[in-house]
Subunit: 335 residues, 2 copies
Amino acid sequence: MGATIRDVARAANVGLGTVSRVLNNSPLVSPATRQRVLNVIAELNYTPSQIARNFASGKTLTVATIAPFFTRPSVVERLRGIELMLSASNYNLVVFNVETVERRDVCLRDVPRRDRTDGLLVISLSPRPQEVAMLRQTGVPVVLIDTVADGMAGVYVDDVAGGDLATCHLIELGHRRIGFVGDSLEEVQAFNFTSSRNRLRGYLQALERYGIVPNPAYQRHGIHGRYEARVLARELLQLAEPPTAIVAASDTQAMGVLEAARDLGVEIPASLSVVGYDDIDIAEYLGLTTVHQPLFDSGARGVEILFAALSGEPVAPAHELLPIKLIPRATTAAC
Amino acid sequence: MGATIRDVARAANVGLGTVSRVLNNSPLVSPATRQRVLNVIAELNYTPSQIARNFASGKTLTVATIAPFFTRPSVVERLRGIELMLSASNYNLVVFNVETVERRDVCLRDVPRRDRTDGLLVISLSPRPQEVAMLRQTGVPVVLIDTVADGMAGVYVDDVAGGDLATCHLIELGHRRIGFVGDSLEEVQAFNFTSSRNRLRGYLQALERYGIVPNPAYQRHGIHGRYEARVLARELLQLAEPPTAIVAASDTQAMGVLEAARDLGVEIPASLSVVGYDDIDIAEYLGLTTVHQPLFDSGARGVEILFAALSGEPVAPAHELLPIKLIPRATTAAC
DNA sequence: CTGTTAGCGCTTTCAA
DNA sequence: TTGAAAGCGCTAACAG
């Protein structure tokens, strides 16, 4: 515990620098010397002070991740990808959970600092132009996961295409009265989420392509979550002419829709088809038709891109597109 | 970015130490001087280097958390409690996800080091006596969450009582043939989890109290997860004399049991009652009868205890018992 | 290949 | 109250 590099140097009868070289696997040490040093290190049970190394090298050996609502299954799965990748390196993962707009802004402002972290991953929260400028100024490499922003690097999926995919699936099953349940616009705007908005866009785009006039009464938005989605879906199902199918902006919200159907005795998929988004673990359990996206991989890939930046290569402000696909299950059927 | 404490001192015409005192809110600075320094700090847009402060003070300002399978809903919820508590302090949360035994051992050995972290939280993984000794030797304050170990501090729930509670509920509903689906004993042993084992103990204890002879064929163990639980439950339900009720060691496993019932056309709760454990978010959605435990609070409380230790008070090697309760829902009914 | 030296930017004595 | 000075334990540049 108490042994320092100096103690080792003295005991091994070498210079301080030599010990440092051994510690850092420098090739500039003769095998004999190296062995001697290693022996002393073992004898003294010496471990270099991480904190001192960080200070001297100016690196923190941490990667910070800002994640909104990190208990959401989709976010957790991304985090797992991040953690697994990081665990194979010597970087540590520092997590910032964001559940309020204030914290979003604080995190985005304070976390990216060279003396706090070596690199930053941001999940789902898109930095605004001004924030992009600040981020860039800090010099901390940043990679966005599940969102894009001008001038930033990242991985994402085409949520417009995803919303389109979900909607097309329903249209091709013969549905014409198709509802949409998504995130509250205020919430989306405050956090600057992009996905729910884009999924809605995809939904509208699909309708248009098939010449279906979108019915504004069929589009509902509320705080993200099962409960709110349930309320919204109940409203939809109680319309004079209710939709025969509903596209939900996430699997969690799709679950709320399923609950609403259950509440009102609407049979799934006989009287109502439901499509979710994300393909979280439980979707399969529920037999939920959904749009699959590579959650785990998005985290892992984000780390890879960050590593590239960390190893000196300048981060190209390019966004890598990950594939999505529709997984038809038991909640959708012909109209 | 580039300004250092020296620049500030020079510009404010004070000594280096005075600036430091201002930064640390020391009362030993005259209001006038303080103000002058603060002005300069603002002018220069100076922020102290966190990394240097850490080095000089010997603190990392991080709390490490070792969490097994942190994507499990119960674990995530504990983490949320931890994160929320930490976010109100100036400690950062460093997360280590453990999904293999090797990593468990490595984390428990390498993470707790004064130069790496100021404090350690360990979720669900009980350190063995030898590990307890090592942990203690490092001098890093450790708090266990959801498990106990001799000589360590922590918060936990009485899983024996919980298993008993679940089983009693069934017995009182008239069930006599009650099965148990829990974690694989090898897995439990390798990670040194305590809860599944204790829940089984509670199950047996309840049976005994009511004079029911436990049937070994009714007790099944498999890798934690929905899938394996489903397989095990299917076996149970296909016995010549199948149980009329099943206690699962977790809600996730209870879900597997529900799937098995669905597979075999067994009606819930008419022909089979099921009780879970944890009361994770989805339990309510599924109408799952379960044993509720304060997951979020366990994390938050763990941090509080750690803070006490961090602020100098020696950690009493005491375990704080959190309350549990049975939540009857729709998966249990009279036999 | 190896030893020496100069910091990294703070916190914390110790005097004044 | 304040200033000056001594490190914290290491990395990295430089001289040999």
